[in-house]
């Protein structure tokens, strides 16, 4: 009987540790520490508490990610500062490919690396790219499954950024 319970317990643990997760609007955004894509050490969404953060999950092999990268960089150039930043998360990607992508599109915003896709799983992404606007208290305020466009950034994201230059 004990053996059966032990086996069932292991199965439940396995399922629970790999079970479905994700965030909805108003939920607190996951803030696990991840290695920085460029440079050393780790970074986390929690470092940006007090700022608006547009968390952008991407990968170098993803075609829509290439299409949205210039729009994100342009938005960062326009609105980035002490109250807002884009935070890129390179997910399930080769580190070298990710760095090349950042160089090619001249991305200036901070980048984290999510090689095993654990952070993407915590956010409940279903692919790349996906974008989550997180408010200064760490709550998800906008969620965009798929690439963002300049229009979306201008019309949906920018109005939520108090004090941002317009």
């Amino acid at each position: 009987m004990l053996a059966v319970l032990a086996v069932v317990g292991l199965l439940v643990y396995g399922l629970a540790s790999k079970g479905s997760s994700g965030v909805a609007l108003g939920d607190e955004a996951p803030a696990s520490a991840l290695p920085r894509l460029e440079g050393r050490g780790e970074g986390s969404l929690s470092e940006y508490r007090g700022r608006w953060v547009l968390v952008n999950f991407w990968a170098s092999w993803c075609v829509p990610c290439k299409q949205e990268a210039p729009a994100l960089e342009s938005f960062q150039q326009r609105h980035g500062g002490p109250r807002f930043t884009v935070l890129g998360v390179d997910s399930r990607d080769l580190e070298g490919d990710g760095r090349t992508f950042v160089e090619r599109y001249r991305l200036s915003y901070p980048q984290l690396r999510d090689g095993n896709g654990e952070a993407a799983h915590e956010f409940g992404t279903t692919g790349v790219p996906e974008n989550f606007l997180v408010d200064p208290r760490g709550r998800v305020r906008l969620l965009q499954r798929g690439p963002v466009t300049p229009e979306y950034l201008r019309e949906a994201v920018a109005p939520l950024l108090p004090g941002a230059r317009s």
């Binding site: 053996a3 292991l10 643990y13 092999w61 993803c62 399930r92 080769l94 090689g115 896709g117």
Partner: protein, 162 residues
């Protein structure tokens, strides 16, 4: 029971080499692109890399091909893949941490079943299973017909011209 314990231990030892990471590793064979693609996963597709054709899989295949061309061993290539994608890139779980349960649970379950079977057989034998009503003595063969039965049998046989 001592004999059963010895059998269980021998079986456990016989099963252990099936679990990589638990047994002594043989000499590392040279890396082969085709072989590796059958032993690692495409993390995005959730299938073996050899079955995957996604853009991520193509990049992963190119990464492996480059390492193989550099003369890296299979273990080194897998180590590099784990560094890039995490342990889930391996088709077979590693013999450490929670992944170890993938190998240990079947072995432990088998041993528990073996012990339960042995205990059941022991209890059955103690309760007299497989023996006659005379305890330890073997059941005697059934006796032939006697008395009235023998007379009737003889009378019946006499009716036939054998």
């Amino acid at each position: 029971m001592r004999a059963l314990g010895a059998i269980a231990a021998a079986l456990a030892l016989a099963l252990l080499p099936a679990a990589p990471g638990l047994a002594a590793q043989p000499a590392e064979p040279p890396a082969s692109l085709t072989e590796l693609e059958g032993e690692v996963m495409c993390p995005v597709c959730g299938t073996l890399l050899e079955l995957a054709e996604s853009p991520q899989a193509q990049r992963e295949k190119a990464f492996i091909a480059r390492l193989v061309a550099e003369g890296r061993s299979k273990a080194e290539v897998k180590e590099a893949l784990v560094a890039q994608y995490g342990e889930e890139v391996l088709a077979l779980p590693q013999g450490s941490g929670f992944s170890l349960s993938a190998y240990l649970v079947p072995i432990v379950a088998f041993l528990i079943a073996l012990i339960a079977l042995a205990l059941g057989v022991r209890r059955w034998r103690r309760s007299g299973g497989g023996r006659g009503a005379n305890g330890d003595r073997p059941t005697p063969p059934p006796a032939g017909p006697t008395g009235e039965d023998s007379e009737r049998l003889a009378a019946d046989l006499a009716k036939y011209d054998l």
